[in-house]
C-alpha cells in the first residue's frame, strides 16, 4: 500500500495522553539491563591503555611482559585491527581513534588493550605494556591551532573549500560558506551595527552511564555484541567494516541506554572488544571508567565566533555576518559547517553570510552533542541581537518578532521554510507571565531563540498482532527517553485500540531491517511514521480477514475505532468485529496478522524554541543563581506531552550547565585536568529551579499526525538566554562561556576599571 505521510488533521484518542511507559517498572525496580548489566559465561574483562601525551609518535610497543602475566588471555594493538577501510577516510579516522596507529593524538587516545580473567589482572597487565613515545609539540586551543605557526596535527591535510588549493598543510581542514544577498551593501544601509567576538569552551554530553559492551566472537566467524548505543544498526556496519566481517554475521543488541545525547553515536570501545574477543576466543566485557569517558569520548567543539549585525532605526536587520571556528579534535569534521548553517536560521534576512572553519586540535574527537554546533552559534548571534536591540532602543522580544523568519522565508542556509514556529514561540514569550514578573536586586532577565533542523532517515518497523489481540511493535530506533511509550500510543491511535494492548520493544539488528541512529531528534518522528505505515498495512489485512469471516467483499469493510465494520445497507445486520475477534480467528482465516513498514522518513519539520531566564549575580564573587527558567518550543504534535516536557527541561538543564559551569580544562602539558564529575561539575538538583515549559503545536505538514522532532532544540537557546540575563544583571556584556564566577568577576572588575 502506498503510504501517505501528509498531515491529516485527525482527532486523537490516544496521542496526546500521558500513560506510564512500558519499560517503567523495570527501570524503577533495578531490573532494566543497561550496557554494563549483562554478562556471559566465561567472560573476560577488557581494559584499554591510553596515551598520557597530547601528541606523540609511537616508536615501539612491547606487550610481551603483559602477555606472559598469568590470567591474561589477549593483548592487542593497532596491529590487531588492520586497516580495512579501503580509502574511506572517515572510517579510517574512526579506526585510528579506536586504536592509535602511528601517533597518539590526544591525552586519552587508546594505544593498546588487554583481556584478562578479572579486572585486577587486566589492570596489572596494562602496567606491563611498554611504550616508547617520541613527544611532539601539541596544540589544544582552537584559535592557536588555526594559526600558521601552530604545530601540525596531520601534515596530509590541506584546507578544503578555499578558492585556491593551498600549498602548505594546515590544522584548518575545511572552509564552508552559507548565505545570500550582499552583506557589504546591507551594512551600508544600517543605522546601528554591533560587532563582537565570542568564545565557548568544550563540554561533554555527560551521560551518567559510561560506554559499555560485551563482545562475543565465535570461532565460526559470527559475533554478538551487546552495547549501549544510540544506533545498533550503525554500530553493526562500522564494527563489521573495521573487523572485516559481513554485516549479517554480526548481531548487535542495544541495551537500555543510560543517556547518550549524541555521544553514543560513535564506536570507540566496541571494535576493540570484538578484536579482543576474536583473539582470546572468549566473550569480553569492556566498560569505560568515568575518567576514560571524559578523556576519550564525547566532547563537543570549543569555538571562537565573530558576529556582525546591522539594523535600521526601525528595527529591521539589514545584514548579518558570522565567522565560526570550531574544534574537531584531531580528525576532520563538519562542526563549523553546521554552526554556520544554524547561526541565523531564526531570522528573515536579505543579506546574510556565514563562514565556518573546521580546526584540528589535540583533544578527543568531537562527537555530536544534542543539536550539535547550534548552541554556540546561537550564543554568539543571540547575544549580538540583544545588544543591537538595546542600541536601537527596542524591546529584545519585539526586535526579534520584527525580524523572525516565517513560512516562505528563505533560510540563511538555503531552503525556503514551510509553516514554522519561531514567530509563535516569540509571541508566546511576549505574553508569558514570566516576562512581567518583577526582578530583585542583582537579578537580570534574558531571552533567546534557537533553531534545529531535525532529521528523518531510514526506518524499519514491524507490528505483529497476537492471537489474543495484543499488539507487539518492534522498532529499530533506540529508546533514549520514553519513545517506546510514544510509539505504543501511535500504534494504539492508528489501530483504534487501547494503549495497554500494545507493547513496544527495540529489536536487534538480526530481527529487523536497517534503521539509522536515534539522532537528529528523529526517533519518535521517523519511527512513528513507520509505525503508522505498519499499522495501516495491518489494518488492510484485518479488513480482509473480517471480509472472509463475513463472506463479503473487502471493499465493503471499513476500519473504525478498533473494529471492522461492514459498510452498506445490504450488510445491515453484520454488526462489527473487534481487532481481538479477528485475531482469535486468524489461524483459520490465513494465519498470522502483521504489518511491516520500511521507509525513508522525509520532511522532518524544522524546530524553534524561545527561552526566558532570570539569573542573580553576586557582584562580590561572580557567583550565579538561576532564579526562574521558561522553555517555549514547537513540538508539531506532542505524542506524549510529559516526555516532551522532559526533553525541554533536560535540554535546558544541560544548557544551564554549559553556560555557567562546564568546561574541559587542559594544562600546558596538553593533559585534561578535570576528567571526573567532581571537577567537571554538571548541574545538581540544588543548582536549579523548576523548569517551566510551554508546548506549542504547529503541525508538521509532512507527518500524518503533525509530529516534529523535539529532542534537541531545547539546548540551543540556553547559552544565549543565560548570557543575556547575566549581562543584564551584571551590567557588562559576557562573551566567554562558561560564565564561571571568575570570568564574571573579571568582567565586572574590568567594567569598573573602565568606567572610573
Amino acid at each position: 500500500m502506498n503510504f501517505d505521510p501528509r498531515f491529516s488533521g485527525r482527532k486523537f484518542a490516544s496521542v496526546g495522553t500521558r500513560p506510564i511507559r512500558p519499560d517503567g517498572i523495570d527501570k524503577v525496580t533495578g531490573r532494566a539491563r543497561y550496557g554494563a548489566d549483562f554478562n556471559m559465561a566465561g567472560q573476560l574483562v577488557g581494559r584499554v591503555l591510553r596515551s598520557p601525551h597530547a601528541h606523540a609518535r609511537i616508536v615501539k610497543i612491547d606487550t610481551s611482559k603483559a602477555e606472559k602475566l598469568a590470567g591474561v588471555k589477549a593483548v592487542i594493538t593497532a596491529a590487531d585491527l588492520p586497516d580495512l577501510t579501503d580509502g574511506d577516510a572517515a572510517m579510517y579516522d574512526v579506526l585510528d581513534n579506536c586504536m592509535a596507529r602511528t601517533k597518539a593524538l590526544y591525552d586519552g587516545h587508546a594505544v593498546a588493550a588487554v583481556a584478562a580473567i578479572d579486572a585486577r589482572t587486566a589492570r596489572q597487565a596494562l602496567k606491563l605494556i611498554e611504550i616508547e613515545y617520541e613527544l611532539l609539540p601539541h596544540v589544544t586551543d582552537v584559535d592557536e591551532a588555526a594559526k600558521h605557526t601552530a604545530p601540525l596535527i596531520n601534515d596530509a591535510i590541506f584546507t578544503e573549500g578555499l578558492e585556491e588549493k593551498p600549498v602548505k598543510p594546515s590544522n584548518v581542514t575545511k572552509r564552508s560558506q552559507f548565505g545570500h544577498g550582499d552583506v557589504h551593501q546591507g551594512f551600508g544601509q544600517a543605522d546601528f551595527i554591533v560587532e563582537r567576538s565570542f568564545k565557548t569552551e568544550q563540554t561533554h554530553q555527560g551521560y551518567i552511564e559510561p560506554h559499555a559492551c560485551v563482545a562475543n566472537f565465535s570461532s565460526d566467524g559470527t559475533a554478538d555484541l551487546w552495547v549501549c548505543t544510540q544506533g545498533h544498526f550503525v554500530y553493526r556496519q562500522h564494527c563489521a567494516q573495521l573487523l572485516g566481517m559481513e554485516a549479517s554475521k554480526l548481531r548487535v543488541t542495544s541495551s537500555e541506554i543510560g543517556g547518550g545525547f549524541g555521544g553514543k553515536t560513535h564506536v570507540w570501545a566496541e571494535p576493540v572488544a570484538l578484536a579482543l574477543s576474536r583473539k582470546a576466543g572468549r566473550p569480553v566485557k569492556l566498560v569505560m571508567t568515568r575518567d576514560e569517558v571524559f578523556r576519550a569520548s564525547g566532547p563537543t567543539s570549543a569555538t571562537s565566533i565573530d558576529v556582525k549585525i546591522g539594523a535600521r532605526k526601525d528595527g529591521t536587520i539589514t545584514a548579518a555576518e558570522a565567522t565560526l571556528r570550531y574544534s574537531c579534535g584531531p580528525y576532520a569534521g563538519s562542526w563549523a559547517e553546521i554552526g554556520a548553517m544554524t547561526a541565523f536560521a531564526c531570522y528573515k534576512l536579505d543579506n546574510v553570510k556565514t563562514v565556518g572553519y573546521e580546526v584540528l586540535v589535540n583533544r578527543p574527537k568531537t562527537a555530536a552533542y544534542r543539536a550539535p554546533s547550534a548552541p554556540m552559534a546561537a550564543f554568539a548571534v543571540e547575544s549580538a541581537v540583544d545588544e543591537l536591540a538595546k542600541k536601537i532602543g527596542m524591546d529584545p522580544v519585539d526586535f526579534r518578532i520584527r525580524n523572525a523568519a516565517q513560512e516562505g522565508t528563505r533560510s540563511s542556509y538555503g531552503p525556503v521554510y514551510g509553516p514554522i514556529g519561531i514567530g509563535p514561540t516569540l509571541e508566546a514569550v511576549k505574553s508569558h507571565p514570566h516576562m512581567k514578573a518583577p526582578l530583585g536586586k542583582n537579578q537580570g532577565r534574558g531571552m533567546a531563540c534557537g533553531f534545529w533542523f531535525n532529521f528523518g532517515g531510514q526506518t524499519c518497523t514491524d507490528l505483529n498482532i497476537g492471537m489474543d489481540g495484543s499488539v507487539s511493535l518492534a522498532v529499530g530506533t533506540v529508546d533514549v527517553g520514553g519513545s517506546r511509550a510514544s510509539l505504543s500510543l501511535v500504534a494504539a491511535e492508528e489501530l483504534g485500540i487501547d494503549y495497554a494492548q500494545v507493547k513496544a520493544i527495540v529489536a536487534d539488528t538480526s530481527s529487523l531491517g536497517y534503521n539509522d541512529m536515534t539522532d537528529g531528534s528523529r526517533g519518535t518522528f521517523s519511527s512513528s511514521m513507520a509505525t503508522i505505515s505498519a499499522a495501516r498495512n495491518a489494518i488492510l489485512i484485518l479488513r480482509e480477514r473480517a471480509a472472509q469471516m463475513w463472506d463479503i467483499a473487502v471493499d465493503d469493510v471499513v476500519w473504525e475505532k478498533g473494529h471492522a465494520i461492514a459498510k452498506g445497507e445490504k450488510h445491515g445486520n453484520l454488526g462489527k468485529l473487534s481487532l481481538k475477534e479477528i485475531a482469535v480467528e486468524s489461524g483459520k482465516t490465513g494465519g498470522p496478522i502483521a504489518g511491516h513498514s520500511e521507509l525513508v522518513a522525509d520532511g522532518a519539520g524544522v524546530s524553534f524554541a524561545t527561552h526566558i531566564c532570570d539569573i542573580e549575580v553576586d557582584p562580590e564573587t561572580g557567583a550565579t543563581r538561576v532564579i526562574r527558567y521558561t522553555v517555549v518550543q514547537d513540538a508539531g504534535k506532542a505524542v506524549h506531552p510529559t516526555y516532551v516536557e522532559g526533553q525541554y527541561q533536560g535540554g535546558a538543564a544541560q544548557g544551564i550547565g554549559w553556560a555557567l559551569n562546564e568546561e574541559y580544562i587542559y594544562g600546558k602539558d596538553g593533559r585534561l585536568q578535570n576528567a571526573g564529575f567532581l571537577d567537571y561539575r554538571i548541574p545538581v538538583c540544588s543548582d536549579l529551579p523548576m523548569i517551566d515549559t510551554q508546548i506549542l503545536e504547529i503541525p508538521n505538514p509532512n507527518h500524518p499526525y503533525g509530529v516534529r522532532g523535539v529532542g534537541e532544540t531545547s539546548i540551543v537557546p540556553p547559552l544565549a538566554a543565560i548570557a543575556n540575563a547575566v549581562s543584564n544583571a551584571a551590567g557588562v556584556r559576557m562573551t566567554h562561556i562558561p560564565m564561571s564566577p571568575p570570568r564574571i568577576l573579571a568582567a565586572i572588575e574590568a567594567e569598573r576599571e573602565w568606567s572610573k
Binding site: R31, A32, A36, I208, G260, Y643, Q649, F677, V684, C685
Partner: protein, 158 residues
Amino acid sequence: MAGIAVSTTINGDAVEYLCQPDETLLDVLRDRLGLTGAKEGCGTGDCGACSIILDDRLVCSCLVLGAEAEGRRVETIEGMAHGDTLHPLQQKFLEHAALQCGICTPGFLIAAKDLLAKNPDPTEEEIRFGLAGNLCRCTGYDKIVRAVQDAAIVMKGA
C-alpha cells in the same frame, strides 16, 4: 589471593560471599551477587548512581569495601518494592515520568527513600539539597522533585 568471607544481610536476606580486600561493595553487589540495580556512574563518589542504604545510612557503595558489609544490613533498589507492590516513590516516579533514560533512577529512589525516612515533610529546597548527591543528566530534576513531593504526601497519608 585468598578471599575474605563476609556474612551480611541484603534486603532482609542472609547472604554470604567471598571478596577481595580491595573490592568495593558495588562490585560485590553487581559482579558477585548479580544485583545490578545499583549502577556505576563514576566509581569516585560523585554521581550517586550506586546509592544503597547501609544500616540506615545512605552511602555510595562504590566508596564502601565489600568486606565492610560484614554483620551489617544492606538495602538496595532490588528490595524496595514489596512483591509486585511498588513503593510509593517508585509509583510516583513512574506517574511523573521522573526518569528518561533511567540510569540514575535506582540511586535517586534510594536517596529519596532515605530523605523521606529522616524528613517526611520536606520543602522543595530540602528535597533539592537532599538529592544533590545524585546526578541526573536527562531530566533537569523538575519531575524528580515533583515525584518526591507527591510521594511524601502519599506516605504521610498511609
